[in-house]
Amino acid sequence: MALLEVRRVDVRFGGLHVLHDVTFACEAGEITGLIGPNGAGKTTTFNVISGVQTPTEGTVILNGEDVSSLKPHLRARRGIARTFQRLEVFGSMTARDNVRVAAEVAQRRRKHGAAKGSVRDVVNLIIERVGLSEVADEQSDALPTGHLRLVELGRALATGPSLLLLDEPSSGLNERESAAFGELLTELADEGLGILLVEHDVPMVMAICERVHVLDQGMVIASGTPAEVQANNAVQEAYLGTKGAAL
């Protein structure tokens, strides 16, 4: 059973057909890439999965449960966490408190659950892991975009998700930070987390993803391993207009 299944999702805004019969799946312990040109519907797909956008048709299935009718917070409680392309950091709080809010909410929910560390330990661990130790106590409004993306990642991880949706997490990071970030995602996946990654940095997607789905004009035009997708003519046409060098 796949961790996440998106089945035949359609989204229309009035006359605009944003997503058209989108179907794909994500597995636990894998990084799945979702790429496509601007306006292809990647963020809308994330909104549908996380419950922010109600699809016109179609279903979202998490761990075999149909979560299509659930509100965002209920999907979050079932293990979906996400970041935002257009940042949604809690700007008036420190980076640490951003992570702390998520950890506290998650801990409270798991009151009767399995062993858990104290919130403080969890927060420290995550801050260190995503690489925010040096700026953790600064108010997040003051931080540069690259750091804010890490704050959102840390905050998402603190909810203890089984599926992590990352919307352009590496934009704003420099090359070295990007590489470290890719490694972190690989480690997280190795620990069993399923990751769905929307990313413009195509070489990074090709390097770390097990499977890649390509969206164009609201349709999945190709799915497969990075190698398969790279070789796909339709992808090169849609993505670059011509046979380009990026793929």
Partner: protein, 659 residues
């Protein structure tokens, strides 16, 4: 069932609706171009009514000249001055600030009118009062009513022509869509905004001249007629002029037909017997319309220029409270009983203000109806505390007001921002007009309410009771600050920064808002109980809508994100009332709030924030007075903010301007 009678009511409803339509379209024009919802719109109409009465009836000017002076001179001039002097300073300020500034103007205008035309209970003749009524469909219409309907049609057609067929009108629509793009195309948004305020206020003046003769000239009643205009404008979702007209006529019919229906349906008329429901009908209509709006999308982060204040620690808040209480004990020894009583009332309202620090300052939700909850608290005190001053009455006040708050919040939280503010205002109007004035609530004559008696120690004396009120305010402040530092406080702050992100962390936005609303209502209830005990009796007037509006004002002026604003606001109200008595100016407090409006447009985060900056600069952190917040970080902080596009966007992708 009498067809002729119904027809008569329908025609009167249409005539009334036409007058509302004129007022409401002015409201829509100013709101869409400037993003400021003009709560003072009705007040401009009210002043125009009085001025028109002064010119025609008192000074004997010809009607045509008076109409020109009031509608084409006075109204537009007031609008242009407000735009220039106040509205321009508010760009990028928080929703609460933008709301209270025009509320301050409204309150100021009421103070002004009651001073200039003090005690004048005048009635204004309509146009051509001696002319024979016009017969239409077997119904008699006065010439005045016909003129009102004709004026409304002219305004509707004229506005449509102006906005769609003239260069200036097109420029105005362009500014609504995108001020930046419009200015790149050679349009000056400031000029357009000023023009729209002049037009809007001119329409308010016209409505005032037309409505005045249909009612008694009375400053408060005429000002609150604006709720009818709000209701009509909300039908048009604050942007569509045709729908606004539909809403206005619908409201006119609703107000006129509902009493008829109630009267003819047995169980309804017996159920409503003894309840003054008719004055609350516009509020009920507004509430129904607001509930039909579907606005369930989650709000994302948006930057404004508000800042983050440091939250005092528990020790700081306790030490600060001890200082404030000690200071009060000392000062109280030197004050007269009358002064003490005015301060008790001031700080009682301060407690109601504290409820808004939690709801608005921390939670980003704006309520204009806190006195509605305060009245519920006073009612509970009356029933449970009674003459004996049982302190359990205060608990009861909280315990009764909080669920009422939750009950209001369940429907009200379907909308947000400005719409939520309007919903709470409708609630307060309903409580004011219908519930509190019911005989069974506060009784028809003064009711005996004893002041608190704590473990046998009575606080009956004015000194003791002032100290008691201040102590309760301190304790509640310590509690509110503790909440702010708790996990719940962080969730609340997160919600204010980004509802969207909060939901994706597993936080239920509606549940958090509901709890906050209930807590806030509970605190307001305690405030109401304290206010009632200050007067040793609860009365409907204390908890009227007009008393609700300044509460938000005083805390926003003091800095709505800081508990200190509840203290400064309470003190300010007390002092204004004391000074007002000394200099013998009636409603001085109302007049002074006009000053606050101008001040706020210069310092939209409230004066308290600037003051806190100064104190932090002078006094080192370690020695700081406990309640004062720390040096704020210089970054902008996203707070609840609603732009015209935000309120009116149907959640799809459509954009667009005034239609």
């Amino acid at each position: 069932m009498d067809v002729k009678e119904i027809l008569q009511l329908v025609v009167i409803g249409v005539a009334m609706g036409s007058a509302y339509a004129i007022a409401a379209s002015g409201l829509v024009v100013t709101y869409t171009t400037s993003g400021i919802f003009n709560f003072a719109h009705g007040a401009i109409g009210m002043l125009s009514s009085f001025l028109y009465w002064q010119l025609t009836v008192q000074d004997g000017w010809p009607v045509w000249l008076s109409v020109i002076v009031v509608v084409l001179g006075f109204g537009p001039a007031v609008g242009a001055i407000i735009e220039f002097g106040i509205v321009r300073g508010l760009r990028g300020s928080s929703l609460a600030t933008r709301i209270v500034v025009t509320i301050a103007l409204m309150v100021f205008a009421m103070g002004l009118a009651t001073n200039i035309w003090q005690g004048q209970s005048a009635s204004l003749p309509g146009f051509f009062p001696d002319a024979d009524p016009v017969r239409f469909l077997d119904v008699a219409l006065s010439v005045h009513q016909v003129i009102v309907i004709v004026c409304a049609l002219t305004v509707a057609v004229g506005l449509r022509f102006f906005l769609f067929r003239t260069r200036v009108g097109t420029a105005m629509r362009a500014v609504v869509d995108s001020p930046a793009t419009a200015s790149l195309n050679g349009i000056k948004p400031d000029v357009v905004s000023q023009l729209s305020w002049a037009i809007g206020a001119g329409l308010a003046a016209l409505a005032g001249v037309l409505i005045g003769p249909m009612l008694q000239l009375e400053a408060f009643a005429l000002t609150f007629l604006v709720i009818n205009a709000y209701a009509a404008a909300v039908v048009g979702r604050l942007r569509s002029l045709p729908m606004t007209f539909v809403g206005a006529v619908g409201l006119g019919l609703f107000i006129n037909l509902v009493p008829y229906v109630v009267e003819h349906i047995g169980f309804l008329s017996s159920a409503l017997d003894g309840w003054r429901y008719q004055p609350a009908l516009p509020a009920v209509f507004l509430f129904i319309v607001l509930m039909l709006i579907k606005d369930s999308s989650l709000r994302g982060a948006r930057p404004t220029r508000a800042r983050t204040m440091r939250v005092p620690t528990f020790t700081e808040s306790v030490l600060g409270s001890a200082g404030v209480i000690a200071f009060t004990i000392v000062v109280a020894q030197f004050l007269s009983n009358d002064t003490l009583n005015r301060l008790q009332l001031g700080f009682g309202v301060g407690v109601v203000g504290l409820s808004l620090v939690l709801l608005t300052g921390y939670g980003g939700q704006v309520s204009l109806g806190q006195m509605g909850f305060a009245g519920v608290g006073a009612f509970a005190m009356l029933k449970f505390g009674g003459a004996s001053g049982n302190p359990l009455g205060l608990l009861a006040a909280f315990a009764l007001a909080a669920p009422v708050g939750a009950l209001v919040a369940i429907p009200a939280l379907r909308v947000r921002g400005l719409y939520l503010a309007l919903t709470t205002m409708a609630f307060a109007q309903f409580m004011d007009e219908t519930v509190f004035r019911h005989e069974g609530v506060f009784g028809s004559t003064s009711n005996a309410l004893g002041r608190l008696s704590i473990f046998g120690v009575s606080t009956d004396g004015d000194k003791a009771y002032l100290v008691t009120v201040v102590t309760v305010l301190c304790l509640l402040s310590i509690g509110v600050l503790a909440l702010r530092r708790s996990r719940y406080g962080r969730v609340l702050t997160g919600m204010r920064d980004s509802e969207l992100a909060s939901a994706t962390l597993g936080i239920d936005p509606r549940a958090v808002k509901l709890v906050t609303f209930a807590l806030s209502a509970g605190i307001a209830g305690v405030g109401g109980a304290l206010m009632a005990m200050a007067n040793e009796g609860a009365a409907a007037e204390q908890f009227a809508l007009v008393q609700s509006l300044p509460v938000l004002l005083i805390v926003v002026v003091g800095g709505v994100g800081m508990v200190t604003s509840a203290f400064s606001g309470g003190l300010a109200l007390g002092l204004m009332s004391i000074v007002g008595k000394q200099v013998d100016i009636s409603n001085l407090d109302l007049l002074l709030t006009g000053v606050a409006a101008v001040g706020l447009s210069r310092s939209p985060e409230g004066w308290g924030v600037g003051l806190a900056d100064q104190v932090t600069r002078i006094v080192p952190t370690s020695r700081r007075f406990a309640f004062l917040p720390g040096r704020p970080a210089p970054q902008p902080e996203p707070v609840d903010e609603v732009t015209p596009a935000d309120v009116t966007r149907p959640s799809g992708v459509r954009a667009g301007g005034l239609v």
